[in-house]
């Protein structure tokens, strides 16, 4: 069973009301439990929890240190192409946006990859828009032939695909899948995705299940915060993660918390997610799913990112550009403005200053993948 029927059942309940009416007792009970149930997760996401953020923080910090130590895993994204046939209203790569479109050749990719590797980064996330004719599974497979010898771990954040294609890319060297549902609200989803293959809500929703079955080592989910009510969206994200954790016990499940940022195009987020809300979401997730990996990207400002290090985050990006070939070329093809443009070295220094160890390499497959080039 995939998450789809579960999501449909959850969406049929009055989630806003259920979360909104949680009282202080529910919050206190949740804070004192070892093993939280969905109702407890709701309580921690509710307005009643807003006056208990410090207590949540202390508990979330404790749990995170227990399960992850004082470490933060670093990764960096590499945009391979920004051609896109979708018309997502909130995205800089929207097919209707008049921005320069680009796609890396294998030679350009090699140069870009080496530039990244020289900074010490070993966990790579490769991204494309959705344009299978130009940058489809074949293109990705070719790219992996270039990247797998250089990076011990390569994740993909691209268009959703069939299980067989995920399996093909895994054989080519991919070990992680990142795919954001954007919004778990089907009606809103339809409005936000007026044209293009991304219109298919169910196909996208079931992609993490397919990735797990195909053999992904890590699967990373999330909703784009700001599109819909963040309490409901975060609840469904957490339940999605909980389903995958239960159904595929061998897979490392992670959640990202991307908050909408300025970008090309006129779309403005319908909901504003304040700093304290983002912190509340992260801590609630940490307490609900103690072994869940939580990722915060460079959409967030440096000071904010530094302050949340002890609160439950376990993965952060560094040395980021969202432009195609942005490490070696210019920034005109960027998907969104980043806020934290610190390099890998600067991030390391910041983490160490907070008493945390930056981890560059957390994984290397020894079962048949090509060996990486010389390490940093």
């Amino acid at each position: 069973m995939s998450f789809l029927p579960i999501c449909q059942e959850l969406n049929s309940q009055p989630l806003d009301e259920l979360i909104g009416t949680q009282d202080e007792n529910a919050v206190l009970r949740a804070l004192n439990k070892v093993s939280l149930r969905p109702e407890d997760f709701m309580a921690l996401l509710s307005p009643a929890a807003e006056t208990h953020l410090e207590a949540m923080a202390q508990e979330a910090h404790k749990r995170t240190v227990q399960h992850f130590g004082r470490t933060i895993q670093l990764f960096t994204p590499l945009y391979l192409a920004n051609h896109c046939s979708n018309h997502c209203v909130y995205c800089g790569f929207n097919a209707r946006n008049d921005i320069p479109r680009s796609q890396l050749t294998m030679d350009e990719l090699l140069i870009e990859a080496r530039a990244i590797a020289a900074t010490g980064m070993k966990h790579l996330l490769i991204l494309t828009g959705e344009a299978p004719n130009k940058a489809g599974v074949d293109y990705l497979e070719q790219a992996l032939a270039v990247l797998a010898p250089i990076f011990p771990s390569v994740s993909i954040e691209v268009f959703p695909m069939d299980e067989a294609d995920y399996a093909r890319l895994i054989r080519a060297g991919v070990d992680g899948l990142t795919i954001f549902q954007e919004t778990y609200n089907p009606e809103l989803y339809a409005i936000l995705h007026p044209a293009g293959p991304k219109r298919d809500y169910a196909y996208r929703l079931e992609a993490p299940d397919r990735g797990c079955r195909a053999g992904m080592r890590v699967v990373n989910l999330g909703g784009l915060l700001g599109l819909d009510d963040w309490r409901r969206e975060s609840f469904l994200t957490g339940m999605h993660a909980a389903h995958l954790l239960h159904a595929y016990p061998g897979v490392d499940i992670a959640v990202s918390l991307p908050r909408m940022r300025p970008h090309t195009g006129e779309f403005q987020p319908a909901y504003v997610v304040e700093d304290q809300h983002l912190v509340q979401i992260m801590m609630a997730l940490r307490l609900f799913l103690p072994r869940l990996s939580i990722t915060i990207s460079t959409r967030e400002a440096p000071a904010f990112r530094d302050n949340i290090v002890p609160l439950g985050v376990t993965r952060m990006s560094a040395g980021v550009t969202t432009a195609v070939g942005g490490h070696t070329k210019g920034n005109e093809t960027a998907q969104f403005e980043i806020s934290d443009s610190r390099s890998a070295d600067e991030m390391c220094a910041a983490l160490k200053a907070r008493g945390y160890q930056p981890v560059f390499k957390d994984w290397e497959s020894i079962s048949g993948s090509p060996r990486p080039e010389a390490a940093r």
Partner: protein, 259 residues
Amino acid sequence: MNDLFDIGGKHLQSRLFIGTGKFADDALIPEVCEASGSQVITTALRRVDLDATTDNIMQHIPKRMTLLPNTSGARNATEAVRIARLARAMGCGDWIKIEVISDSKYLLPDGYETAKATEILAKEGFVVLPYMNPDLYVARSLVDAGAAAVMPLGAPIGTNRGLRTEEMLRILIEEIELPIIVDAGIGRPSEACQAMEMGAAAVLVNTAIATAIDPLAMGRAFGNAVRAGREAYLAGPGATRTLASASSPLTEFLSGAQA
């Protein structure tokens, strides 16, 4: 309160299973059944002693009890299957507790052989309750094999040491969809209560009752403890306010938010 334990086609009111072993006097058994409120009772299967006429245990077990014969003596799946089929031939129902133990020092169960026996017997229509170490992977294979419940030990048989495996039991209760019946090692009513409070579906207690100085009173105490633990579990935990800790605040940086 309608909180029946549905298992193997029965709707049980009592979540305390008891045993028939180690009693100083088997004549106490029907009174212990009464005092404890238990509705499920275990027995073993052995060769008849042809030289002596001993009382048969069945005459001490009230007809209303559901019999749960065990496969004690089995050292592998084949032996357990044989004993189970023989037990069913007695005509007292098709519940079976699989006990495959080839370790005579600690009496710890062999999970692999237990899973093999479970699969065979479940296919033959038995209501299989396998006794096991609280191992998550073994539990999953028992689910797949068709068990009606899993029976993880709290501590080795006869040790009366309580829930030494508490953390592992918690994980099983969390992750396994079948009823979790904590069997072995429960020495005191408080420990049975604790198991129920954690979310166990039932507990099985033999040694602690049979070898008590007053088995009737102990049976009664266990009955009360299991009911208390179950009610507490259903009532849900209270809301405790944690005292403010002295460590440095983590959320002061959120301007406008409560620290």
